[in-house]
Symmetry: none
Subunit: 423 residues, 2 copies
């Protein structure tokens, strides 16, 4: 099946936002064996959107539109497709009921324009919106398949992953589906990882091996066509074993989860608690951990001590350690160690992480941008502190430093598991 | 003039990279008054690229292609356009001389395939490549203008900025460029904002008015054609005044900046300091604030008190307020107020923000997902606490609650400014 992705939105044509939706949908389609042949962007304009649909119909079997399902006047994707296919729009009652309840529960007046978010084309399959109000649409007419998705990535992505891909797979019938397995690595960069696997990557045929880096982590995707998941697993087993032998110490998961999720799950399993003291990451590390649903069972809280005064006032770090001639300074292994240990005392958790460094854009204490120390303290155990060097702009350094702290914790949890096995 | 941007590259269709080139070219075209009506992505495939050119010729005056000018077999944009326009390819001698010298200077053998990077269509204008080897091409045939640019952003961007825009401006003669102005709002949703401006939006002609929502904020874009920035400002003044009259209380900036940036700048200007105590936002609020470069001048740090025990141990909130029959509980206006006031004592900052609520996915203390209380305390001033209801999934609730806290602070800073003016 040949697919075309149409992103609808004048803000894309003005260059105000970058079309990450097309990238996401292309990745998802490729993964299930639907080839994307064109991506198109068109503005919030009735006649041009209609023309884009006409062009796409001539060259694609599947047309995936994203954007223009919202409540405002320039949201017109459903109207245009309905006219294009000569179908009427009908109310999707569950969406309407949910929306009515939604506004009532919040004590907000539901303005009439909102109602159009509950419309779908007559005879189409609704795609539920678990993270917003506009219902999605999937339908087939004259051998062409159409999918309409919302524009905001937070609504579009879960809708397509949970409902859109399944709908497409249902159409494909006989063709053997693609199976992918994700191996997730932390504590190693993309180029070093690729370097260590270059012979495997060069001779790859089946399964295929594709590394990519995203958000401070590296992912390796193995892909093969097979009749079933267990058949696919068997085809990928040798390659996976070889990769584990070479890079096992960095491999934290064999599914597409961020490291914070693996850590939170493991802490809950072990009944252990965690706190964090952050300087240069400024809250990002705690934000990552608390993005995991249920994290409150393991993560108790922490401190953000951005200034030396607060490192002293809130954590009790002696000022003579932070400032003055010959002092190690706030950005030092010693301070990272003290932060973790003193936080542990104050919070009473089993584990404590600490991060202190230079996020930039300017050096601090005469120390270079990207220098970051990470500390780890455990109740009744030894404290560990390491020096790391992170690259990129301020946001990337914060991100990579947060991930590095999580990787240090993951390794300690791993040791914990090994010790438990031995005893 | 109507433009279409065609990005050529199979890696875009596989979702391996995001199409930032289209965004850049759209911004550049918009800035010089060339409206982009379509963006297209097509793979490294002769017949489909030809078809994309055919489609574009029917609907655009200017066709800008990026990608496919390199030395490898996949690079076929020049060949395809030459065949499409029935022109031959000729050597651009200065590019060939530069390339020959380039390889000789590095002691590398120049493989024959490299030579094609010095080719241009007969009768076209060369666009010099100051940061790479492939020469660009600009030409007009049958009233359609074509520009071919390399794919790597570090070559494409300088080529288009230095030579491509000038070539296009030369074609336009009289037409005036577009000017845009962004108005940024917080504390109001997209539909309510549009509802309050619907009569203006309905009768819009010049300037045009377009609202869009992103990351918990709403942006309104005013756009007009004018001979200069000051002329554009004058044309937009009446509309802007009307919008300010209706929505001034939510309008925090007239340029495209996030609210945290406006707040950090203002705090630094006033020499005031800030700390934050977070529960349900779990560090996201502090992370947002510290994402602003230079924020350490105003933001001193804070606490993340995820559990009641830490609300008591780190902030000193009495346990009888948090738990037990008849207690207001952790998720209450009273606790938000206490968190802000007690944080202020502990950090000694001028202002303190607090957030406590239910991010979900499950209710807490029998209170519904999305219920969030925000507190604000100031040295020597009155404490404020408000109740808000946020919608969406866990991540969105954290995001919107963080933005709501920033909006409360922004309003307080505003009052501060007004009080200063009066005194």
């Amino acid at each position: 099946m040949k697919a075309e992705i149409i992103a609808v939105g004048t803000e894309l044509l003005m260059g105000q936002i970058v079309n990450t939706n097309a990238q996401f949908l292309s990745q998802q389609c490729t993964a299930i064996g639907v080839g994307v042949y064109y991506q198109t962007v068109v503005g919030d304009n009735e006649s041009r959107l209609r023309q884009a649909l006409e062009t796409a119909r001539q060259r694609a079997d599947v047309i995936i539109c994203t954007g223009g399902l919202g409540p405002t006047q320039d949201d017109l994707t459903k109207d245009v497709l309905a006219a294009f296919l000569n179908r009427s729009l009908i109310v999707h009652q569950p969406s309407m009921d949910y929306m009515t309840e939604f506004f009532r529960g919040r004590g907000i007046a539901m303005v009439e324009s909102n109602a159009k978010q509950a419309l779908m084309l007559k005879g189409s399959d609704p795609l539920p919106n678990d993270t917003g109000l506009a219902v999605g649409v999937a339908l087939t007419q004259d051998d062409t398949h159409y999918i309409l998705l919302p524009g905001p990535p937070k609504e579009m992505k879960p809708m397509f992953e949970r409902y859109g891909t399944g709908w497409l797979l249902g159409l494909m019938g006989g063709e053997q589906p693609l199976y992918s397995k994700m191996l997730k690595f932390a504590g190693i960069g993309e180029s070093l990882l690729e370097h260590k696997l270059i012979d495997l990557i060069d001779k790859q045929t089946d399964p295929t091996i594709a590394p990519y880096a995203k958000e401070g982590e590296v992912t390796l995707r193995l892909t093969t066509r097979a009749g079933s998941l267990s058949e696919a697993d068997a085809k990928m087993a040798d390659t996976e074993r070889e990769i584990r032998e070479r890079l096992g110490e960095y491999l934290y998961a064999d599914r597409d989860v961020p490291i914070e999720q693996v850590i939170v799950d493991r802490l809950i399993e072990l009944g252990l608690s965690l706190s964090a003291a952050e300087s240069c990451t400024g809250g990002m590390l705690s934000d990552m951990i608390t993005s995991v649903p249920g994290s409150s069972e393991a993560y108790h809280g922490g401190l953000i001590t951005y200034t030396n005064r607060l490192k002293h006032a809130l954590l009790g770090i002696p000022m003579e350690l932070l400032e003055g001639d010959g002092a190690p300074g706030a950005i030092s292994e010693r301070t990272a160690r003290e932060m973790a240990e003193r936080l542990l005392e104050r919070t009473g958790t089993d584990f404590a992480l600490s991060v202190t460094g230079v996020a930039g854009p300017s050096p601090s204490e005469g120390k270079p941008v990207g220098l970051v120390y990470i500390g780890f303290a455990r109740r009744g155990g030894e404290t560990v502190a390491i020096e790391t060097k992170q690259t990129g702009n301020r946001e990337l350094i914060k991100l990579k430093a947060s991930k590095a702290a999580l990787y240090l914790l993951w390794k300690q949890l791993h040791k914990h598991d090994e010790a438990a096995e031995r005893s």
